[in-house]
């Protein structure tokens, strides 16, 4: 069984011969590196990977991967990827998308792939701006953002990706930062291993049109105090020297300082990503600086049955009980008469 023997890969085995054409300093470069690293650690044969994308800067991603790839049309990657995975559940299917591609033009497909829980990994590059069309606001741009199509500031509320995923009955949601390759690699591996639709929101920097949009939480000097990396089964602790934590105060989360008011590590909430009730996870996904640290890591990872498996099981079940085994059987079934 030479076929099933898995080769040992290194990240460079997943690099294609195409020149990477993102802007120098773009966050996408780091995401590409982290995904190539994650893939090399998954133990899945290279020919089983399929990368599907829509339109936008990030959607050029498949060209840079030495795997099967399909660069689709704007907003439709979730639908194309759904077809690929349903047709061949053996493949490891990855959808590369951005905030405009997934949440504006592709919003409908995005919520429905999540609802169906098709086992694909959606990597959503969120730079809160339209890059490829050169700087218009997106569905995740903060209210008031001044862009080329909102010269006086936007007047619309942004989507929160995690909220939308959970609202769409999502079973897996994680968040990472483009430049944190170690954390990102770990998250991509967990997303790949999760059976069902996994959505990873990457806080990604657009160096040209929205530079520094995530700096307030990702800058080296402040990131420990302004983000919290959630780990399943671990207390919700963050800050330089693990100074702070999260507790439940009535129906809301509250930031507390360890050592003050009798707070110890034991007083803190323990992260449960596997809890199916999304209440706490929902609040964690929606935490915003400065009131809260921004949550990174796997926020929700709940097991559930997947669409493509259910389809195959249904087919097997029907086939077992049907007298129609081939087309000739069907053609001659029911009301057929013979003219002699």
């Amino acid at each position: 069984m030479a076929e099933s023997q898995v080769t040992q890969y290194s990240p460079k085995d997943f690099k294609s011969d195409q020149e990477v054409r993102w802007c120098p300093g773009c966050g996408d470069h780091a995401v590409l590196s982290a995904i190539q690293k994650a893939l090399s650690e998954l133990g899945i044969p290279k020919e089983k990977f399929a990368f599907i994308s829509g339109i936008g800067c990030s959607s050029r991603f498949p060209y840079y991967m030495n795997t099967y790839g399909f660069h689709g049309i704007h907003g439709r990657a979730s639908a194309i990827a759904s077809g690929v995975k349903t047709a061949n559940p053996e493949l490891s299917v990855w959808q590369i998308t951005g905030d405009g591609d997934a949440l504006a033009i592709g919003g409908n497909h995005f919520i429905h792939v999540i609802r169906r829980n098709i086992d694909i990994n959606i990597i959503l590059f969120n730079n809160e701006i339209y890059g490829l069309t050169k700087g218009q606001y997106s569905p995740t741009s903060n209210k008031g953002l001044v862009t080329k199509t909102s010269p006086f500031g936007t007047v619309e509320e942004p989507f929160s990706v995690g909220e939308l995923v959970i609202g769409s009955k999502g079973k897996f949601f994680a968040r990472t930062v483009d430049g944190n390759i170690a954390l990102s690699t770990q998250i991509y591996i967990e997303a790949a291993k999760h059976k069902g639709t996994s959505v990873v929101e990457v806080l990604q920097n657009c160096v040209i049109f929205n530079d520094g949009i995530h700096d307030v939480v990702t800058e080296k000097e402040v990131r420990d105090d302004r983000t919290i990396i959630l780990k399943h089964g671990q207390p919700m602790i963050f800050g330089k020297g693990n100074s702070h934590g999260l507790i439940l105060d009535g129906l809301k989360l509250k930031v507390v300082k360890i050592g003050e008011d009798g707070i110890t590590e034991k007083s803190l909430l323990v992260h449960d990503a596997h809890e199916s009730n999304p209440g706490i996870q929902y609040m964690l996904a929606n935490m915003k600086y400065p009131e809260y640290p921004v949550a990174l890591g796997v926020i929700r990872a709940v097991p559930g049955s997947t669409y493509e498996t259910a389809v195959e099981e249904q087919i097997k079940g029907v086939q077992a009980g049907s007298r129609i085994k081939c087309m000739d059987d069907l053609l001659n079934s029911g009301s057929v008469w013979e003219v002699k």
Binding site: G69, G83, E90, M327, V339
Partner: protein, 613 residues
């Protein structure tokens, strides 16, 4: 059963069952046509129902009809005008009076002709009088009270009792056409095996109607002898089912799994429903969130190596345009079925039209060629769906299959093929030793690229909507773009090698060549044969292959004095012919009423053209 002293023999007859949308007219018509088919008649049927599920009871808008045309010889249309009208209420008279022959038989439920119902239908007095139908063969049957009486000790609730009215009417029609009740009785036994009392009630209503017709002696039974039909096994099939089965057959021949990604839309939904029921044959049916996701999931499945299809109607085709463009660029096999309906916009959802031809040929951005094929009868939807899939798979191209509401819902007996009679389908799969695999490298003969299926070791590659080189590298080089545009066009042109010659029905030359395409075939062939038998020098060609054309078009056209193009639109195919075969003059017969042609109007217009200098 009953004695029949006198029976008239006839060659053909058209019967229209008509009533409120809740009266069960579709079932009544279907049961009658099945019985006729089993008896050996040739036939053609057409249902006609409102877009509203339950339009206000008793109104003309709520009338649902089912027409059966059966004959002792070949039948190609559901018939223009009915010889027998079964009207369950006054609105059914109103809706159908212009579609019945002079002096035809009208059977109606006189219990339902109350003042209120007469008024609802828009009449002031007795519809028979108001429409001046007194000289017709009018049978005013007390259908409602008869079924109430027949089933009074049966213990069924009054609503269920009245639901058997249609079977009483059917029983009358069976007696009138000298038919046996057995097939219909068997149907009820099977259908209601869990509710035998309902099955029994329907059977009683059926027999009561049959004996009632015999007793009143107002009708002379008519016999339509079996038609001389080629030997073989037959079944009734409608266009949507035949389309679905054509795809199933193609998948089996190609050894591929069938994937349908679709969104429900009238009148195409039947294809998705039929394939969703075929899990036993391994179909993966994906009811998508919208039309776009329908084709995009199918395209994803095609990329992954399935036989992929998506079904829709005009407005849905508009939504799929961009993804069809992607399929053209990616050069992936996919079949898009457009069951045409009245447009534009929502238009006439339940009515037929042929006005999406230009949309099918050109409704996309860029130079975006796809193969366009049209089916011409309910049963040949099987053949053309099979061929659409065969061409898509063997030529790595999207194929647009056009049917229409008339074909989709119409049905006719169909000689069931054996799978061994159908041609093999051999997709150009890339092999593992095709390394390095270049996704846009083509064979020299057909310009077809090879198909590398994800999961195959060593053939990893990227495709997509951006213009590319042979290697699959994104390219903005001007010459490369033009080269690729021309290659894609040439590839579709090469499909002509598979296209059979156009067939001339009638003499190879003459005064008038009637030209049709797709679903108007039945009415055109009937018209042309009648004209021929009346001594006119008229022939017919009906196109199934629209892009690319059959190779012998010019040869045929030049042998006729006049050419008239008949289509259910304002002249799209005529314009397309003008573009492609400019040396001919094309006259036109057009109709855009959501209805098929009638034989009468085609004949009249053709005769006028023949008489014009």
């Amino acid at each position: 059963m009953g004695k029949k002293s006198q029976v008239i023999e006839k060659d053909e007859v058209v019967i229209r069952f008509s009533g409120d949308s809740g009266d069960g007219m579709q079932l009544t018509g279907t049961l009658f046509s099945d019985t006729a088919a089993l008896y050996g008649n040739d036939l053609s049927t057409f249902p006609d129902y409102p877009a509203e599920i339950r339009a206000p009871q008793g109104t003309v808008g709520g009338v649902s009809g089912f027409t059966v045309h059966l004959g002792h010889s070949e039948i190609n249309t559901p018939g223009d005008y009915a010889d027998v009208l079964v009207a369950m209420n006054p609105a059914a008279i109103k809706a159908n009076v212009r579609w019945i022959n002079q002096g035809s038989t009208i059977i109606y439920d006189k219990d339902n002709f109350s003042e209120k119902n007469i008024e609802k239908a828009g009449y002031k007095e007795d519809p028979i009088k108001e429409e001046k139908l007194e000289d017709y063969n009018i049978i005013a049957a007390p259908i409602s009270s008869m079924v109430k009486e027949a089933l009074k000790d049966f213990g069924l609730d009054p609503k269920s009792v009245l639901r058997t009215k249609n079977m009483f009417a059917l029983g009358m029609v069976y007696w009138l056409f000298d038919r046996k009740l057995k097939y219909t009785e068997d149907y009820f036994e099977k259908k209601f095996h869990k509710k035998p009392e309902v099955g029994e009630a329907n059977k009683i209503a059926l027999r009561t109607g049959y004996y009632y017709a015999e007793t009143i002696e107002a009708l002379t039974p008519v016999r339509i002898n079996p038609a001389p039909i080629a030997k073989g096994k037959y079944r009734n099939i409608c266009g949507n089912a035949a389309t679905a089965w054509g795809f199933l057959a193609a998948a089996e021949k190609a050894g591929l799994r069938l994937f349908i990604g679709s969104y429900p839309i009238t009148p195409a939904t039947g294809i998705l429903e039929e394939l969703s029921a075929r899990k036993d044959l391994g179909v993966k049916s994906f009811q998508a969130e919208d039309e776009i996701a329908g084709i995009c999931t199918a395209l994803g499945a095609s990329f992954a190596g399935n036989l992929a299809v998506t079904s829709t109607s005009g407005p849905g085709l508009a939504l799929k345009s961009e993804a069809i463009g992607l399929a053209v660029m990616a050069e992936l096999p996919i079949v898009i079925v457009n069951v045409q309906r009245g447009g534009p916009s929502t238009g006439l959802p339940t009515k037929t039209e042929q006005a999406d031809l230009m949309q099918a040929l050109y409704g996309r951005n860029g130079e975006c060629p796809v193969v366009v094929i049209a089916a011409s009868t309910p049963s040949d939807c099987f053949h053309y769906a099979f061929e659409a899939a065969r061409i898509a798979l063997e030529h790595m191209t999207p194929v647009l299959l056009l049917t229409d509401g008339y074909l989709a819902n119409g049905s006719e007996p169909w000689r069931v093929p054996k799978m061994s009679e159908l041609p093999e389908i051999k997709p150009p799969f890339a092999k593992r030793d095709d390394q390095p695999y270049l996704p846009y490298q083509r064979d020299d003969k057909r310009m077809v690229r090879s198909w590398a299926i994800p999961g195959t070791k060593g053939l990893e590659h990227r495709i997509g909507g951006l213009e590319k080189t042979i290697k699959g590298t994104v390219s903005y080089v001007p010459e490369n773009h033009e080269h690729m545009v021309r290659l894609r066009e040439e590839k579709v042109d090469k499909v002509a090698e598979k296209v059979p010659d156009l067939k001339v029905y009638g003499k190879e030359s003459g005064d008038l060549l009637v030209v049709g395409w797709g679903g108007s075939y039945g009415h055109l062939i009937t018209s042309v044969r009648e004209l021929q038998s009346e001594g006119y020098e008229v022939s017919l060609v009906n196109f199934n292959y629209i892009k690319p054309f059959p190779k012998n078009v010019r040869e045929i056209f030049k042998k006729f004095r006049k050419i008239v193009v008949c289509e259910i639109n304002l002249g799209q195919f005529a314009d397309y012919l003008r573009m492609n075969f400019q040396e001919f003059i094309y006259l036109q017969i057009n109709k855009v009423q959501g209805l098929p042609f009638t034989v009468k109007e085609i004949k009249e217009k053709c005769i006028k053209i023949l008489e014009d200098k």
